[in-house]
Symmetry: C2
Subunit: 154 residues, 2 copies
């Protein structure tokens, strides 16, 4: 049994026992050491972004004092939803181990597969009405950002 | 000029002036009132998930004490990346106004379009190595979750 995934599962189980959120856990590992653990805390924190992977990434970034986790790996008890998948990308984590799948999550009542289907164009998003407005106004920050030669990239 | 988007742009400009992160701002509005404002703070906070929309959603949820923002609208200076798009979904926000596009963000050096292309299968994700392990272990939390008749759904 993978020792990191075992801990991720324990985090998930603790989280549901404490009514913190859904049945998901995650662990961030750097050079064989566990940097952070996380579980879904949407119910407890009222934060809809508090998925296990996002919680673990935030904690790892805080602990290491950097947003670049390219020397880390992440273990998640379930295939990440598109939010968490993208968060892993933004954190520059190059390796992900996951256990259950988006189909398992769907059977438990979660929208992970729905979101993937929407993003892949397989399903129309009937829940979000998107309208583009004020593009000229909104590209001003890009212009100022591009002029800053000393900016830190991420 | 849309007054909410004007404020979102102001947040973006303040954020880059203070070197907090990228050129993005967002505002959450409920019944015509601004509930929260946010800007990208990835550099300042070291949190790779601190995109403008995620920051604004977290603040709105904290202020309102609920993860369900289905009576809110969100204004974002740029088309949300897949992380933020999914965060809007998880927050159940039904209306999104955005200004600049994923192409504008790409021109400024951001991976929003890359991530959409990967999720749509147009581009292979050469940056993340995903491996499935320990599914049997990882579906245990789902089983326990499903048995809890009093769980709060989100």
């Amino acid at each position: 049994m993978n020792p990191y995934m075992k801990i991720a599962v324990e985090e998930a189980l603790k989280g549901i026992a404490n009514k913190e959120g859904g049945p998901f856990g995650a662990v961030v590992v750097c050079n064989g050491e566990i940097v952070s653990k996380g579980n879904n805390q949407v119910i407890m924190t009222h934060d809809p972004t508090a998925h296990a992977e996002v919680v673990a990434i935030r904690r790892a970034s805080e602990k290491l004092g950097r947003f670049d986790l390219s020397d880390c790996e992440i273990y998640s008890t379930c295939e990440p939803c598109p939010m968490c998948y993208s968060a892993i990308h933004w954190a520059k984590i190059p390796v992900l181990y996951y256990g259950a799948t988006r189909d398992d999550a769907e059977k438990a009542g979660f929208d992970d597969k729905y979101l993937y289907d929407v993003l892949q164009g397989k399903t129309k998003d009937g829940r979000l009405n998107m309208k583009q407005i004020e593009r000229d106004l909104c590209i001003e920050p890009f212009k100022q950002y591009e002029e800053d030669a000393n900016k830190q990239l991420y």
